[in-house]
């Protein structure tokens, strides 16, 4: 009786989230296709799709690209840049801080599709980046074609940094000023204070943010799809792009589902780590 209010939400999540997850596991064991005989009558193929994945040279490449994309654009850049910006704003003049925050947040507010167009324009052969290099007397390459991963990684940093910056700003604001000032009196310089006093105090926030942006970045699709569509060849085909292309462009639904299932497994591993990281303070609070 008391739990009744939970029911509508549980039904909706069971049908549209749990259902597809189970479907994903089952579908990856068939040769379901968009057209042809297998579309009308999909056959059970056991683990054949997974065996094919292991033999497919594109798969390890795609996994590698996904790892690089996530590690560099989310874990390294967004965390350091976001934290760096948040810290710098505590030191910089207030007016400037507000302006910078607005600019950084603006990139984040834009719908992902618009952000992707803007990044496409920026990195294209005749785009703004090469215009700038031209001013310096350099002739820039066609970034989207010659260095597709660099382009999409920078685009994702540009778009995603605001999120971690805002969270770190909020967290830094909560660090009691007494503590940092006390450390200052003790003779610790700025860098030391940051590393030994401030950062440990917001460790929890860092872990949480790290996990959140990792998972967000893992499933980025639109940004890459618009900028490079995974190309040239498969040079920027991360797992979401690869799964989409195989399933909907080439019609191999079963194979695409197998790739998606691998992504789900990766996401699940991260989730477990994330939940473990969150557990400590929740128990303390309870």
């Amino acid at each position: 009786m008391r739990t009744l209010p939970l029911v509508p939400a549980v039904i909706l999540m069971a049908v549209f989230l749990l259902g597809p997850i189970i479907w994903s596991l089952v579908g990856s064991l068939t040769n379901a296709a968009l057209t042809g005989r297998a579309a009308a009558d999909p056959q059970w193929v056991g683990l054949a799709n997974y065996a094919a994945l292991l033999a497919d040279p594109v798969f390890p490449k795609s996994v590698g690209l996904t790892v690089v994309f996530t590690l560099v654009s989310a874990v390294l850049a967004q965390t350091f840049l976001g934290l760096g910006l948040a810290v710098a704003m505590t030191r910089a003049s207030a007016g400037l801080g507000a302006v910078v925050a607005t600019v950084v947040v603006a990139a984040w507010i834009l719908p992902e599709l618009v952000a992707a167009f803007v990044a496409y324009a920026f990195f294209s052969q005749d785009g703004t980046l090469n215009q700038l290099l031209g001013v310096l007397g350099l002739e820039g390459p066609n970034w989207l074609f010659s260095f597709p991963m660099i382009a999409v990684i920078f685009a994702n940093i540009w778009r995603g940094t605001a999120f971690s910056m805002m969270i770190y700003q909020a967290a830094l604001n909560e660090v009691p000023q007494e503590i940092t000032e006390a450390a200052m009196l003790d003779g610790a310089n700025g860098a030391k204070r940051l590393v030994y006093v401030t950062l440990p105090m917001i460790r929890q926030t860092i872990t949480t943010t790290l996990m959140l942006i990792t998972l967000q970045t893992l499933s980025v699709f639109t940004l890459i799809w618009v900028m490079t569509a995974g190309g040239p060849g498969n040079d920027s085909a991360t797992l979401p792009i690869y799964a989409f292309t195989e399933a909907f462009r080439f019609g191999n639904i079963g194979y695409g589902t197998a790739i998606a299932t691998v992504m789900l497994a990766v996401g699940a591993v991260f989730s477990v780590v994330y939940i473990r990281a969150l557990r400590v303070p929740r128990e303390r609070a309870a």
């Binding site: 008391r2 739990t3 209010p5 509508p8 999540m13 549209f16 989230l17 997850i21 479907w23 994903s24 710098a88 030191r91 910089a92 400037l96 801080g97 302006v99 925050a101 600019v103 950084v104 603006a106 990139a107 507010i109 719908p111 599709l113 618009v114 167009f117 803007v118 324009a121 920026f122 294209s124 785009g127 703004t128 215009q131 540009w158 805002m166 969270i167 700003q169 909020a170 604001n173 503590i179 006390a182 450390a183 009196l185 003790d186 700025g190 440990p200 105090m201 460790r203 926030t205 980025v220 699709f221 979401p240 399933a247 909907f248 998606a260 992504m263 996401g267 699940a268 994330y274 969150l278």
Partner: protein, 295 residues
């Protein structure tokens, strides 16, 4: 944790800090200012292209002040089939998703926040797990599911899926916000014979208005900006949201009509920007949004 890093430190506040700013502190500030300006420039540059190109009669992918200011790019894309119908669809989809999600999340959060039950903790873990689900990974099976349920090309179906995918985060946030509302007020209401649902509606919900705003905005943004879900689930042009319309426009004219693409992008982005600015004013800046997600 704090005991480990601050052993034996005096905790008296230092008052005269500003007036005796040391040279090194000023150097730090200058360095911070300089690096902030640099980063801001890098972040602003791509945005500048968007704004300039939209008003430029003769735009390219390069960033420059418009040689000739014009609104032609806007009038060219402001047609029913390109902009108005898709924008209306976006609005219908995003508002419905936000309302449905918030209502269901509040209902679900109530027992989780108010009653101690054995399943609360595991349920919250499942919810947390749900927040981590990469939605792009389940689109292939979601498509198959929609075929089986005869929901393809249906706006209500798409709304239901978008709501389901936002629910884990929404429930998590709603429970946190609700935990902050003191129980005493409701107990008084219960004494007066009000049902739990009545207490939720008349007492708890009004008190967590800022929280509800945060959740609504979060869900609205996610639905408004979502491209992949409607791309797979909606087929007829008359039902597609702006994200799809603008994507096919890019596919056809992206390498020709730069100015119109930029204008179209701006039109599509304006509602979320406006909403963000309004909400940020109303509930104390971006901190509220970020703080809510922080957990």
């Amino acid at each position: 944790m704090s005991a480990r890093v601050t052993p034996g430190l005096p905790v008296a506040p230092v008052r005269a800090r500003r007036s005796v700013a040391s040279p090194s502190k000023r150097t730090v500030a200058a360095f911070a200012n300089a690096s902030l300006v640099l980063v801001a420039l890098c972040f602003a540059l791509p945005l500048a292209w968007l704004v300039f190109a939209a008003f430029d009669a003769d735009s390219t992918y390069q960033t420059r002040l418009p040689t000739e200011l014009t609104l032609d790019n806007f009038t060219a894309v402001l047609t029913p089939e390109l902009t108005f119908v898709p924008m209306w669809n976006s609005l219908v989809i995003s508002v419905s998703t936000a309302v449905l999600t918030v209502v269901l999340a509040l209902l679900a959060a109530y027992p989780l926040s108010r009653y101690q039950a054995r399943f609360n903790r595991p349920f919250m873990y499942i919810v947390l797990f749900g927040t981590c689900l990469p939605i792009t990974a389940i689109m292939v099976p979601v498509y198959a599911l929609f075929v089986a349920l005869h929901l393809l090309d249906s706006i209500p179906g798409t709304v239901a899926f978008l709501a389901a995918s936002s629910l884990p985060v929404a429930i998590y946030l709603a429970k946190n916000f609700m935990d902050a509302v003191p129980l005493e007020l409701e107990e008084a209401a219960w004494m007066d014979g009000a049902s739990a649902m009545r207490a939720l509606r008349t007492i708890v919900a009004p008190l967590m208005r800022p929280g509800i705003a945060v959740i609504s905005i979060y869900v609205f943004f996610a639905a408004w900006g979502n491209f992949f879900v409607p791309f797979i689930l909606l087929l007829s042009p008359s039902r597609q949201p702006a994200a799809i319309s603008i994507y096919s426009f890019f596919g056809q004219y992206g390498t020709v009509a730069y100015g119109q693409l930029a204008a179209f992008s701006l039109i599509y982005a304006v509602p979320v920007i406006t909403l963000y600015v309004l909400v940020a004013r109303g509930i104390g800046g971006s901190f509220a949004l970020a703080g809510a997600v922080k957990g």
